[in-house]
Symmetry: C2
Subunit: 287 residues, 2 copies
Amino acid sequence: MAEQQTKKRISFLGPDASFTHLAALKAFPDSELIAYTTIPECIEAVAEDKVDYAVVPLENALEGSVPLTIDYLFHEVQLYVTAEVLSPIEQHLMVHPDNAESDAFEAIYSHPHALAQCHKFLYYTYKNTPLEQYSSTSAAAKMVSELPERNIAAIGNEFSAEKYGLHIVHREIHDFHFNHTRFFVLSKTNHQLENPAHNEEVKTTLMISPPKDDRSGVLHQVLSVFAWRQLNLSKIESRPLKTGLGNYFFIADVMDDEMSPMMQGAFMELAALGCTVKTLGSYYTYE
Amino acid sequence: MAEQQTKKRISFLGPDASFTHLAALKAFPDSELIAYTTIPECIEAVAEDKVDYAVVPLENALEGSVPLTIDYLFHEVQLYVTAEVLSPIEQHLMVHPDNAESDAFEAIYSHPHALAQCHKFLYYTYKNTPLEQYSSTSAAAKMVSELPERNIAAIGNEFSAEKYGLHIVHREIHDFHFNHTRFFVLSKTNHQLENPAHNEEVKTTLMISPPKDDRSGVLHQVLSVFAWRQLNLSKIESRPLKTGLGNYFFIADVMDDEMSPMMQGAFMELAALGCTVKTLGSYYTYE
């Protein structure tokens, strides 16, 4: 894509070989990718011009939204979504090549979410093997690669097996085979990365704060603004405004370009209703 | 209240002196309170008849909903809300009485949320003191009580200071003074605990799944069912159905009794729209 002709710098939620790293490679196969330890650090890197784009997780099909990403984008920075990346979450059981012949392990290490995602497989196949929580799937893979003398296994993605030279004993051991995570590619300027699928499905993400007097029924009014225009919402979710229990803002994904006449009309009516709208821009999907 | 004349057994999310423990004492001052380590264990205790009621956190004004509570109530059990408890979250800095004269500490220990909630106070008053994460506020208080020879402090609630005999050095050090947490009191049968404030404000919590063909705009239709009846929603939130990215159910709090004629009409229309509605019952608030 055009953005990559000069070598761009991209922050992502690390460590190396994380699922976010995989997502960042999908959008930026030839750029300089820099791992950050936390979501706020990753987002601040682009807000402070240390990098051109940040790639952070937004939502998982099983766990739901990542509140830290949504809250940081609402409360702390004004950034724009230039693309979203949808990645399947596939977990594999991996060991040091010295232990490739073994099928009984001292312990299995991974991030708590990955252990949970493989619950049924682990229950039926390794019922008596201790499960040990680790800070990330790729940190667990790294640790296993450094301790060939211990007959231990890690659960993680294929990329971390490659990176740390591990042997995959069981592939695709996750219980739900539709599990995906959605990532945002963030920038300081409101623009779009190239449309990789060349489809017409552009999406706009809005953060809508209701009027301060918080009339009950305002969400119904907000949805009416979109409904009669046949603007489809693929998602709507509430998050606390942090001003007191019961005060929320809404994050909505609308299936249209923010510059379309219908969207411009919707923005005007939302303002007339007393709502404050923060747009994160319009963008295409990398699958 | 009537429920307490025979001594009831109550599970709560522990450890002892947790904020959930405080909330449970508000609703059940004279009952047998039993700490459980995790939210699922606490909920299962009532589902399996080990206790009469379970008290679990649902939502915090800063952090938002507790996904584990909502998902477990939707996917795993059929329980009812018999009351909700609203508790202010007040954090204090506490030390062993031997160190009561000190105002400079080796380190300050607490749960990561509590450290985050006191961020500004800690930044301005103890800028160079290391902050150490601990599994809970009351576990941190317990540890400080057991190590008088170390000049360390914990952050937690007043109850944990009392329980572990600690001296409070600074009171109410949390940054936001409106911070509350909302707790559910769960039972296997659909009934209401006594209305402690003797007000008329009864609330019903519903879990609404849209029809499987997931017509876009269904949330607008759902809200219309309530809006024209002047049934006010104090909260609506989406959570993943765990059937694939983009598939959600909605948890809605409606300000009316589920047996009212308007609510019964709403239930019939929601069914006609193809929605599946799981009611958690109607209940009053303990503040």
